[in-house]
Subunit: 351 residues, 2 copies
């Protein structure tokens, strides 16, 4: 596919052909001319020349001089992006791209394996106007970007630093909601399947779970807080929890993707859902309706949150001082088919 060495026409070619200066061409093509007022006749000539030459401005040159790339980066936890892509991630990307289209941005995914130090460099090297960050708590990238004054918004995790813009859900409240639902159904041995240590979302949900248990006078059992980080790990890990003699009668799982992976594994162990074990997920993605049984889940407006985060980033890039740079979305519970009253006989803690 030898690259055809026909030089693409430049703005000079258009200017020459139309018999005007290139400043005029630029003004005509960009419309927004503060200084230059263009006569209708000249504009027509320029347009015609551009059309005939099939002129398309070189975006790199534009970006360089305008100091604006019209590109946003989406930065996930290192390695996360392609390792454990999930329905959740897809929904995030849908929300981001929906807003990006409206604001006129393209999206970039950084895949190069860079050191922590290098990561901030890569983001601030001019090719990108701002970044959406889905990163763990205590990430060194965040203070680095903040210090450099590079526009970013953290989403689906809580901002930790003063002045750090973020969009998150009320995960503590969500944790309470799910736990309260299971308690109301009579469950007492409720396990919380948590995610990564660094995930503020998972940690907040855990906090809500503990808080609700205590406020209802149920003693939390630390052995019922059980980490499963990804759907892949479920077949191997979950049986460890469920084969205990005092196994839980309900699972509150930090993510829909993990919760959905639990169902076939439980079935395989001879445990029916929800007759023997109730499950509550988190996010309430569309797939929750398609599982058998449909998954009860705390609804997080993932699409809207991603959208809002992107718009906030847009405002920050434009140099606006948004009234609210820390946005918290409320949560609510979608009760579906995966939760049922606690089966009295199989619960050793009841008698």
């Amino acid at each position: 596919m030898r690259r055809r060495e026909v030089r693409r026409p430049t703005i000079d070619d258009v200017a020459r052909k139309a018999g005007v200066g290139k400043a005029t061409v630029s003004a005509v093509l960009n419309g927004r001319s503060r200084h230059a007022r263009i006569s209708a006749d000249t504009a027509r000539r320029v347009m015609e020349a551009a059309r005939e030459l099939e002129y398309r401005p070189n975006q790199l040159a534009r970006m360089l001089v305008r100091r604006k790339a019209d590109i946003l980066a989406v930065v996930f936890q290192r390695g996360y992006f392609f390792l454990s892509w999930s329905s959740f991630t897809a929904e995030v990307m849908r929300g981001v791209s929906s807003a990006a289209v409206e604001l006129g941005y393209d999206l970039m995914l950084h895949t190069r394996d860079v050191t922590d130090r290098g990561e901030a460099d890569v983001l601030t090297d001019g090719r990108i106007d701002g970044a959406l960050l889905l990163r763990d708590a205590g990430d060194p990238l965040v203070p680095e970007l903040l210090e450099r004054g590079f526009p970013f918004v953290r989403f689906f995790s809580k901002g930790e630093l003063p002045d750090e813009p973020f969009v998150d859900a009320d995960n503590v409240g969500g944790g309470r909601l799910a736990t309260a639902h299971l308690l109301d159904l009579g469950h007492r041995r409720i396990a919380f399947i948590r995610g990564s240590d660094g995930s503020t979302a998972s940690n907040d949900r855990l906090a809500g779970y503990l808080c609700e248990l205590e406020s209802r006078g149920v003693e939390p059992d630390p052995r019922l807080v059980f980490p499963i980080l990804s759907p892949q790990d479920v077949p191997e890990r979950l049986p460890d929890l469920m084969r205990r003699p005092d196994r839980p009668t309900a699972l509150f799982v930090w993510s829909d993707d993990v919760a959905l992976a639990c169902i076939p594994v439980l079935l395989d162990m001879g445990l029916r859902v929800p007759a023997d074990v109730s499950i509550v997920g988190f996010d309430s993605l569309e797939v929750c309706n398609r599982s058998v049984p449909p998954l009860t889940s705390v609804r997080q407006p993932v699409f809207d949150m991603a959208r809002e985060a992107t718009r906030l980033l847009g405002r920050l890039i434009d140099g606006e001082e948004p009234a609210e740079r820390r946005i918290l979305f409320p949560l609510q519970l979608d009760v579906r088919g995966s939760t049922a009253p606690c089966p009295a006989r199989t619960n050793p803690s009841l008698s």
Copy 2:
């Protein structure tokens, strides 16, 4: 987050600080100096100055003058990317990014809603060195790019034009493999669930299915070729096929994602898998092992194919004339638990 207006240090600043010309700085930092030979002492001074100033070259300027962006685009069928992201897509991206890292490329996803005409313009505007295309048959973008001499590789679809580089699997062979397996199990009423009309992959698998049926003397029934384009559509569409009195005893489904979505729906209809209905998927992704029952599927080396396509693209960008610019991967069948011998009594076409 007012953008700190500290000007980033440029190559001039480094040159001044080190007391050398900027050509020297460039030579030192890039190493590969054909013309310039640098003394060890000068190199040290430059490095030191760069470190002290925390100098990071502006990539835009580099890209402009080098006429190289070190960025690859991944271009899916319009709208596909975020609408129906799936395990398959994730695997594709894993393969692409794996090769991209090795070759030193970043990845870009185009999300802006552009017209067909505009799409080629966006790709060739200088921000990107080459593109990986996952597009339907007869896509107007392809001849456009070919004519402009822009480097691209089509993957997971068959190249149609002369000289068009592509990486695909032997889908006809795969279709025969799956169909033969079901025929061997005694099935005669085998449905083929096909994807989009434009998908060469789905069409080739259909061709293989028809070919194998005929070569075994089984009359193909056109009513058993049934389109379901995405997992979301399964609950609504599949019952139409399976409620017929002469319903098929086996499904050969064009994609794992759709095949996996069929299992709960069939269960819901009271049909056991594989006792009542056998299912064969396509791709044999890792998730096939995690379903209940595990999904029999034609294995397509998605990761390797994506990787190979990316490497081919790399060579095309470098202006090499690769020996083979049309790569076809062979397929094989992974028999798992979702296929079983045909149940004689429930198949009206047998007697």
